[in-house]
Symmetry: D3
Subunit: 223 residues, 6 copies
């Protein structure tokens, strides 16, 4: 039975880094996938020019096309400064989308990432997806984003996965989608390098006996 | 010996949801109970009109009357947006009240609630009640508020109670006080329904061998 | 698609207390349910006579019949003394059952229960179900057992659920199955009373917007 | 109103190290204090001779006399080897004492100490004091024992106190009682030195604005 | 081999309270020590006058001179209101200093302090010191500041040290440097009293078998 | 300055899986490395014959030779059944070795592994290395062992590393030493496959900006 899946990512590239293979698998299995971006990912930089903004949008569109995603929303919350916005504003931006998409499964950022936009996004999703009678959302899972999840203070809220989605057949799609974001990727041995993303996929997969996987934390599951 | 008890609640209705039975018991046992509200609970809504504001205040006064509380302060911090205020402002609002009321026991919100006003209130209470020589505060306990404490990310700062106040004889008062807030309550099986609040009271009580109880986390106790 | 479900319970009655409604729902939905008991639940008592043993077995058979379970194994590890057995022995008892039943979902005890048999059972299940290539097990969930999970030291490994199985239509079956174990149940307001189990079911359900649910912790999920 | 207080210590000297000042204060305030020891504290040593055993008992009696305690039980569980005994045996030793003493407050070891007897003692107390209807126990608090609580793996179950009992007027009694156990004490800067115990008392006290205190974790409180 | 050490403190006096003895030891061992202050420590007070500001700066200079530190930067982020600044601004202030100082070891505040400036400072340091290829930073350690670290909600992110720097020979320097901040210090038994700081140093030292130490949490270490 | 390094591993192969690259680096840097094994790693198997035992010993000797380790002790605690031995016996076996080797740094198992021998070994090392005055041990670090650390219940005591030892130049040695244990290794995508160990090394390294690393938790560090 086809599912409606929502991914809420802080910036374009987080959706691929966090769950690109899983997105490709959902699409392949006939699920409807909708992606939301909260900020543009370039506004906070010295060179956050219109040109950079356009490049990032083009990359985003290419990546989504590789993954087979056609539905997407992009907000323009202040990049890398989402802590300067009242949380309520972020929640109220998400609520109409939840209402419209009626997702059964939602993927979003880990609550304890180093990046402040990731944390705010997580918190807003939790509020927008509260389990009231009639809510469509049955599952909330959080993903890890290299160069953020693993760089946070380890003792506070570490990313300790309890869910693994095999994506052995979709790892190539994930890497292809990452290639679209080449301006965001760094050379190995940087944590946000293609080589690392592939090593991580092998590691997460082998931990549960498959070739490649993405890892998640189950936040809530209602059957 | 009569105690001075302070409840610091983010919004009118949190005091009843969190510790209404305990308040009624304190009053019955001759303790002096003072309640502080940080925000009005309606300002953040589309219909946060004067009319709504007045209705909420009337409900609040009725609820406090049912519980037997006569001392109360109400601040007008921005509703559901207390993260937009520097924490210091919230602390400085509370300090004169602590000074005046000289509470020995303080009840407030759990640190890890979904609602951002609850979190800010907790944090401000912790600062306003720091254990300096001469401080009147001997005990700080945090309560749970259904539709907020249990809806937060479970792995972060879950509400795991270690204190239970029996309120078997005061559960009816709690439910009566909730009735005053009927505009805030929802129909079962919503988490903020009267039926759920009663089931929770039974659950928390039975866990420690009594008919009904409210559950708390002891944050600090000085004897 | 029909699932193969395995429940590993320390003692007869734990399977009903922990996930009786969920079992009934699995059966109703056509899944194959297999239950394993590790100890007899009476051996550690002063009156752990043959008569008590037989009564407990009869109760167990009645309960399983109410729930619709026909497959069951019972080991005779020392009751309430499973800490006196090397963990390896417990693991080696479980492994042939995993091999034979080929479960996709496994339910067992919470790792942090007060009862030592519950802890040992949890630990053995984790070892017997390690995620090697070819393992049938896709999901491990742990349940709570009143008078054990909530009585443990709260700060150590509290039961903080992240999965909820609605059982509104099966709560009556759960209570009926508990009736078979009346010799194990206590009068309210004891934590292991029928009234408490029902209040807990309402509470767990209302937390996620349904009438009644059983709560679990997702330990591992592989898709 | 006079309270009945029970201290459950693994070895003679733990009761003084953990809560000697608090014991002296309870006695001074008219409470009835009963102390239970689980093992003799010398059996595990190469020199665990009868002579050592007698010396330790004499020290114990002197220490209790200094603190003003007249009621005491001593079990002879295998010293430093309580992990070799089924937990149930330890629980069943404690239950008749709980029944007889009818304590309202119980002090025992922290669950996460380095010393295995401390851990077993904690676990057994939790089982013997489960909160069933009619139980006398209203409060369980755990204490820290230098050279054990602070030497455990810090990330597992650290001792993070939330309760402080002022004992400024009883610190001298605590140090006097420790003097009785001089054979167990070490020279500074060893963690189990008199100088350290005094520094710790100052530290715990000053954290909450008093001259000297003992620190505890509230495990359960029922009012 | 001489190390480059960076201390990032929220306010003047935090560097001495948190790691004054360790600073003195680094200096004595020939390491280059650089201290950064984020806010002036007086701006948030009613009497945050120019005069107070100057006094605090004079104290700071005296303290650093006692410790032997010659390199120092001071930002003027809003005192006790650093939560009102986007985190990105704080990070961008720190990055050029990291770039210039090229520290191998960084000391900063614990992530879970009561004081909001401490928390923001910690978070900003974590971002400014992310472990990219070529980063000079090999070690990040966090210190405790009495009247803040121990006054936070104990169950959230307690300070549980895993690193201890002996400073038996430098405790007198630490106390001398604290004397410079006498306007910030309080009389015993206040937590921020000289007597408490000394008791804490003894306690932290004795826990690991030395006369005096400062305690830290290792956040990250790369060899 | 040459260091004395001690590795305490439960079974032959754990030393390579956990810190083989780090061992090779210590040796290359002139440190003296001593390895202790607690059990033989084959005794618990159906085919735990003399032949298997000899094969494992030969593999062990080859692996140690590849890594350059010449000092080694092997105990014969019951394989995979170390929970059947009193902890004290394990501690007393280790103490003379600590006394003789006088290590400054100790590596051992993570406290929360699935394998019970790993847990017992960790606990015994903590006791044998308690930080008394005069102890040689300045650092205790714990390593992860694939097919055990990552298979434990994730919410209990997850392995969340805070220390990383670069071993880019020694990864080939680690893989070569693993080859000696080929009878213990499994084919990919099993978690204990050579391919996984290499992917993990890349992942741990890239997280901190280097090509390959082993990850550890700092348990205690005294400078």
């Amino acid at each position: 039975m086809s599912k409606s899946v929502l991914i809420v990512a802080a910036h374009p590239d987080d959706e691929v880094l966090g769950c690109g293979g899983t997105i490709a698998r959902h699409v392949a299995e006939g699920d409807v996938v909708h992606v939301v971006f909260m900020a543009d990912g370039v506004g906070s930089r010295g060179d956050g020019s219109t040109y950079q903004h356009q490049r990032r949008n083009i990359a985003r569109d290419q990546a989504l096309e590789v993954l087979g995603v056609s539905e997407c929303n992009a907000f323009d919350f202040p990049d890398n400064c989402m802590d300067s916005v009242p949380l309520l504003d972020v929640v109220q931006a998400l609520e109409p989308i939840i209402e419209q998409v009626q997702p059964t499964r939602v993927y979003t950022h880990h609550s304890g990432d180093l990046n402040v936009d990731h944390c705010v996004t997580h918190q807003a999703v939790m509020t927008a997806c509260r389990p009231m009678p009639g809510s469509s959302v049955r599952e909330i899972l959080t993903f890890e984003v290299m160069s953020s999840s693993e760089w946070a203070t380890p003792s506070v809220t570490p990313f300790v996965p309890n869910a693994f989605v095999e994506m052995s057949d979709y790892l190539s799609k994930k890497l292809e989608a990452l290639a679209a974001y080449e301006m965001e990727m760094r050379s190995a041995p940087h944590s946000r390098s293609v080589a690392h993303i592939e090593a991580l996929a092998r590691h997460r997969g082998n931990c549960v006996g498959v070739d490649a996987a993405e890892a998640f934390v189950v936040i809530r599951m209602v059957e």
